[in-house]
Amino acid sequence: MGQAGAEGSSTITNFVTPLWEAATRFWDDASYAKDDPWLMDNYQVEEDGVKRFRTAAEMRNLARTNLDRSQHSSEYQDPMNEFLARAAAMFRSDY
């Protein structure tokens, strides 16, 4: 049955957990389950017809693109707040 079996179970956990952590840490939100549909769709990537698990760095960059979730993170809010404030100042001519 698929990758069922003792050996497959531990391997998948080992692969998925760091990716889940990379994404949820970026989002500042650990409430997303490991089987979250978006995560499930993106743990793996297909290259040249071969599926592989992403690296944590890749997962982090990919998590960034999910704006619905990233918007709650400091990664999003800090620079965007700065952009907002400085743009507002610039348009008030006191930049």
Partner: protein
């Protein structure tokens, strides 16, 4: 000792005959459940004896603990619900196809033991967030429960709207910045602010800045949007003051920026234009149009002075020349021969309006001197020679005209042709 070690060769052969397979060393490999069921008899509910082909009632469940526990799990209501939940969604079905139900179930059980729900809550198997663990700073729950993006975009809009920008432009700039953040992990606010100048929405709103950039003006020398907007407001106020309704305001502002026309010059230009158009005599306006109309367009308007991209000092020169020209026409009745070149020479003398008027008036009094008598050899032109003499542009001409005046005066004075000199009359008793 393994359970099959006690089996006799005859019993093994029965099992083989029923479909089981064994290795060369006598280890059962497959088909054992069905074979035992056949040999020992199928499960009978009434007698509660025999074996099922699979699951907890099978032979293997009695001899293999792992198999028995997995069988118990897959036959439970929780597992059925778990699988049903996965099958209810496309993503769930994809997960099942990739990893299989049992593997996903096992992941679920290990996740729960480790303190997190691998597949979300037991009663929510489709991956919805566990709101009890939500870490949003404001305590909100669920995706979209608190739309930070919308709030920030709204704040951005409010800030820039006050600066006179329309919603379409503001939204376009925010979306661009957000897109930059999304696609560039090295995003910084500073870089975004600089990059904003290159966005089409920005260029459309601030064409002057765009044109200056295209013209090679460095970023440090470009006006900020705030400075641009402040200038727009200033020019709009000035136009309103002098009664100009500008239909292509954006283009005008861009042109003023590109030509480095600042606040003070805008006011100066408009004040001058106001003088020319409304405060100067018609003769002056007509003269300006006659002499410089080709340079400023066929119709001289106030906007002509503001919108003109030429050198402002040249425009001022032209206006001063036209003013002298108009006064010459008005006071001295100059026409033929009175052109902008000659008027400019007079204008360049820097005389006051009163002084110019006085001299034109004096010239007017001498106008008849320029209508030659039959005995006068020198042909003097009223405009060319009269102006040059009256404004001391040519001292010889002044003397010539003076001699003509003296000569004509002598004809009508006593003493029979005595010359006039100064304030005395040549000779005779009157001077005695």
């Amino acid at each position: 000792m393994a359970y099959y070690d006690e089996w006799s060769d005859e019993y093994k052969q029965e099992l083989i005959d029923a479909g089981a397979t064994f290795s060369d060393t006598g280890v059962p490999l497959s088909g054992l459940n069905v074979a035992v069921q056949t040999v020992e008899g199928a499960y009978d509910e009434e007698t509660d004896t025999g074996f099922t082909a699979t699951g907890t009632g099978s032979f293997l469940a009695t001899v293999n603990e792992d198999y028995r526990s997995q069988s118990e799990a897959t036959e439970s209501d929780a597992y059925a619900e778990f699988i049903a939940g996965l099958q209810a969604t496309e993503r769930g079905r994809a997960a099942l196809a990739t990893w299989g139900g049992l593997e996903l179930w096992n992941q679920q059980q290990r996740g729960i033991q480790e303190g997190y729900s691998l597949f979300a809550e037991d009663n929510d198997l489709t991956g919805r967030r566990n709101t009890n663990l939500n870490l949003n700073p404001d305590g909100s729950t669920g995706v979209g429960g608190d739309d930070v993006r919308a709030k920030m975009q709204s704040a951005f809009y409010a800030a820039l709207r006050e600066a006179g920008m329309d919603k379409t432009t503001i939204d376009a700039l925010w979306i661009w910045a957000e897109d930059q953040w999304k696609n560039d992990p090295s995003f910084t606010a500073e870089r975004a602010l600089i990059g904003m100048y290159d966005q089409q929405a920005f260029k459309d709103r601030f064409p002057g800045i765009d044109q200056m950039t295209e013209g090679g003006v460095g970023r440090r020398d470009l006006p900020t949007p705030g400075e641009y907007i402040r200038f727009e407001k200033y020019v709009a106020s000035e136009l309103s003051r002098v009664g100009i309704i500008e239909t292509d305001f954006d283009a005008l502002i861009a042109k003023l920026f590109v030509n480095s026309v600042g606040d003070a010059e805008v006011t100066e230009r408009l004040n001058t234009a106001q003088q020319v158009m409304w405060e100067m005599p018609q003769e002056v306006r007509d003269t300006f149009t006659d002499w410089f109309g080709s340079e400023y367009g066929t119709s001289i308007t106030m906007k002509t002075f503001l919108d003109n991209t030429g050198d402002w000092s040249k425009i001022q020169d032209d206006i001063t020349t036209a003013r002298t020209g108009g006064w010459g026409r008005m006071v001295a009745g100059l026409n033929a021969g009175w052109d902008k070149d000659l008027a400019k020479k007079v204008s360049d003398l820097g005389l006051s309006q009163a002084e110019q008027w006085s001299r034109f008036a004096e010239l007017k009094e001498k106008e008849m001197l320029f209508a030659e008598n039959v005995d006068e050899a020198v042909d003097l032109d009223y405009a060319e020679h009269g102006v040059a003499a009256e404004f001391n542009l040519d001292s010889d001409l002044a003397e010539t005209i003076e001699r003509r005046a003296t000569g004509r005066s002598a004809r009508f004075s006593g003493g029979g042709g005595a010359l006039m000199s100064g304030t005395t009359t040549g000779f005779g008793a009157a001077n005695a």
